[in-house]
């Protein structure tokens, strides 16, 4: 096999590898996006659950408490009596 044939073969391989790598990169980006959205969703669930819990405690709304129970979300009240939203009760969705 001459050197020029080898070069042609390498060039072909290069084209194939570039295409495969591009496809893999797209898949990786999609997965990273999915994970990022999942993390955002997790934060949203925590915020929402904390707000539902807070309001259910304030208004003694059993329907909201039932909602949390239905969604299998348990809230552990913080040890201190702080009502700061940042230190809202931790949710432990199961």
């Amino acid at each position: 096999m001459s050197l020029s044939s080898l070069i042609a073969l390498l060039l072909l391989l290069q084209i194939v590898f570039v295409r495969i790598t591009s496809a893999d990169q797209v898949q990786l980006l999609k997965r990273q996006q999915l994970i990022s959205q999942g993390q955002q969703s997790d934060r949203s669930v925590r915020e929402l659950a904390a707000r539902i819990y807070q309001l259910s405690q304030q208004t003694n709304d059993t329907a909201l408490k039932d909602l949390l129970t239905r969604q299998q979300i348990t809230i552990t009240p913080p040890s201190d009596a702080s009502t700061n939203a940042a230190s809202a009760p931790a949710t432990a969705p199961r």
Partner: protein
């Protein structure tokens, strides 16, 4: 003793070339320049292939490393969708739920998707619009 005179072109390097001398001169060949050029291209192609393959390996490793976090992410999305759906359904009767839905939309936790087809997607779950308070 007779001495034979040396050949003129051997004795004198500047001896003018005759037709006979031209016939024996080395001929130009493009083999070595072409060989060097082709070798260079070959090495460049091989290196490119190696670099692309290395990049692909790294991408594959990153992709596999993220595999463990895909399932929790999907679960979180489903959980948010389920919670939002339940909350919105409840907001038709419960004013507290309506308040939470309104606050969540304002805070950007829930998004109203006008073109929602009602099917689950991998994007952030969209909540239907909050109904008017029943007061």
């Amino acid at each position: 003793m007779l001495r034979q005179p040396p050949l003129p072109h051997l004795a004198n390097p500047f001896f003018p070339m005759s037709d006979e001398n031209i016939r024996y001169s080395p001929r130009y060949s493009s083999f070595w320049p072409m060989f060097i050029l082709m070798s260079g291209i070959f090495i460049w192609c091989a290196y490119q292939l190696y670099a692309i393959n290395s990049q692909r390996v790294v991408i594959d490793q990153q992709y596999e490393a993220l595999a463990a976090t895909v399932e929790p992410a999907e679960g979180a999305q489903k959980r948010l969708f389920s919670l939002a759906q339940d909350l919105v359904q409840m907001s038709a009767k419960d004013p507290n739920a309506t308040q939470i839905v309104k606050e969540s939309i304002q805070a950007g936790i829930l998004h109203f998707n006008k073109n929602s087809t009602g099917t689950n997607t991998t994007t952030t779950p969209a909540a239907p619009p909050a109904p008017a308070p029943s007061k």
